[in-house]
């Protein structure tokens, strides 16, 4: 069985950044395994701009951002397999890959999980009604329009206000379709404010908050949907149902980290993030298996995916060199106002970047880290939004000697 130092599963934003970072750290024997026809993953279909402001200080489209990393992979001659699917991963860090050459087995000292995420579908949210053609997840529509030259429809309703749905509202409009409305179940949008601004308001597309699709009609092709307003507890407000004529429904209703392989390897997942539970180096419960990018937690900005990949490679290097010395494990206790935290536990007391998402939008909040007796770090935010990930760094000095770590978000 061929043995590699590092195998990276997935050649998208996270996998590419991890590969380049590994090479820069002097790791020579790397293999990227990519399921698709090309490197770059989902960035290839994200042809809008706004990527790279943090990493490259300029606004790039998705393909341009991906190319920056692909060029580095090529220049550094990092090996990769395309059209190759990992079908099995074991806790001993053995992988089985299937491609045109049949099955291949590899073993690695370190596995980096970088499989990204996939979209929630109609089935996952259980919209009743007919089952006609014309219902797409927003990302699939994006792939069809931007990569396959296939227009999905003419009169569009979008359910869910995630960023991909918002981006697609603009894209479809510029391709000549009519976007009738965007309906969002929650009383606030799950997309970034700038996208609501430049993708909906720029084109006078209404955003209906606290609204959802309750019925789908169509024989063969979608002919219309029924939308309804939701009350405070999420129930349909009587008399609020109305029919909307459309030939296409796009769903932008959330992303799920793709962790089937992780589960097979016995990695424990976080029920909230859907990604592996990790320590401060991005290491899962299985020693030597690390995770970064959307397979770990769904990000809103690709720059943060790249940064996270580079950050966990610190740990990969330390692991390979036997420099990861364990301290007693601390499980991070999540207090009010916060939906999740990554990492979920601390083992090494090294400089740590914590990622959070908040429960609901708010103003004038303060994030407080406590060691059980006193606050060890505070950070205030004029505004918080579930759509925007919060990232805070604590130094090893700030974490030294703690036995407990509690985090909460409270009003100022």
């Amino acid at each position: 069985m061929p043995e590699k130092e590092v195998i990276i599963i997935g050649g998208g934003a996270a996998g590419l950044a991890a590969a380049v970072a590994c090479k820069q750290k002097g790791i020579e024997d790397i293999l990227i395994i990519e399921r698709g026809d090309y490197l770059g993953g989902i960035l290839n279909q994200c042809i809008h701009d706004g990527f790279g402001l943090e990493k490259f200080h300029t606004s790039l489209s998705g393909p341009e951002y991906a190319q920056k990393y692909i060029n580095q992979v090529m220049d550094k001659k990092i090996p990769f397999l395309l059209n190759s699917m990992v079908v099995n991963l074991t806790p001993q860090k053995e992988v089985i890959v299937v491609n045109n050459n049949g099955l291949q087995h590899y073993r690695a000292k370190v596995i980096i999980l970088a499989m990204g995420c996939r979209e929630r579908t109609r089935g996952a949210i259980g919209i009743p009604g007919a089952r006609p053609a014309g219902i797409y997840t927003a990302g699939v529509a994006q792939e069809l329009i931007n990569l396959k030259d296939y227009m999905v429809g003419e009169k569009i309703v979008i359910l869910g206000s995630g960023d991909i749905g918002l981006i697609m509202a603009r894209r479809l409009t510029l391709e000549g379709a009519e976007v009738v409305l965007v309906a969002e179940k929650l009383p606030y949008s799950s997309g970034l404010p700038r996208n609501i601004n430049q993708c909906l308001y720029d084109f006078d597309i209404p955003l209906l908050l606290s609204h959802t699709v309750v019925d789908i009609e169509g024989n063969g092709r979608l002919s219309g949907v029924t939308i309804a307003q939701l009350g405070k507890r999420g129930g349909i407000i009587p008399g609020s149902k109305r029919k909307i004529v459309c030939d296409t429904l796009l769903l932008s209703v959330g992303l799920i980290p793709e962790n089937e392989l992780s589960r097979e390897a016995g990695i424990v997942l976080d029920p909230i993030t859907g990604g592996p539970q990790v320590d401060e180096r991005g290491q899962t419960g299985v020693p030597g298996i690390f995770a970064c990018g959307n397979v770990l937690q769904v990000h809103d900005i690709v720059d943060n995916v790249s940064l996270e990949a580079e950050y966990i490679v610190e740990g990969v290097t330390e692991y390979l060199e036997g420099r990861l010395t364990r301290e007693p494990e601390i499980k991070i206790e999540l207090g009010e106002g916060l939906r999740y935290v990554v990492p979920q536990k601390l083992i090494y007391r090294k400089d740590t970047i914590f990622s959070f998402r908040v429960n609901q939008p708010g103003e004038k909040k303060i994030l407080i880290f406590e060691d059980g007796k006193k606050a060890i770090k505070k950070k205030s935010f004029p505004r918080v939004n579930p759509a925007e990930m919060i990232r805070v760094k604590l130094s090893s000095a700030e974490l030294e000697g703690i036995k407990i770590l509690k985090v909460k978000l409270v009003s100022l």
Binding site: L53, Q67, N146, Q198
Partner: protein, 122 residues
């Protein structure tokens, strides 16, 4: 009048307030960088956007090449440029940064490729 803008220049999405009459700006509050201030000035006088889209490719390994305008353009031209890009066809190979169409709508609006497309071997 007074209005709050959400800056679209970077993902921070800063809220910036401005007091103005017509295109006469009296006051801008809450801008955290020069780009934010410029964004609000432009929103009041002449809103600008980068257009992104795609055009058809002949003999390429992708049927489409993604494109953007080489600089921000007046927002009012976005739909018009969308219409034009639907009729453009370019020949592979194409490099990132290559100009694929010139002088759209007004003389200084150019479309550049944002993807590399290789020629397909038939």
């Amino acid at each position: 009048m007074k209005r709050e803008f959400i800056c679209i220049i970077c993902p921070k999405g800063c809220r910036i307030s401005a007091e103005y009459e017509g295109t006469d700006i009296k006051n801008i509050i809450g801008d955290k960088c020069l780009k934010g201030k410029d964004y609000v000035k432009n929103e009041i006088t002449n809103p600008l956007r980068i257009f992104t889209g795609s055009v058809l490719v002949e003999n390429g390994d992708f049927p489409l090449v993604s494109v953007k305008t080489s600089s921000p353009i007046p927002k009012k031209y976005l739909k018009k440029i969308g219409e034009i890009t639907r009729r453009i066809k370019v020949e592979a190979p194409i490099e990132i940064g290559q100009v694929v169409a010139k002088n759209l709508v007004s003389e200084d609006i150019n479309l550049i490729a944002t993807r590399k497309v290789n020629i397909i071997n038939k």
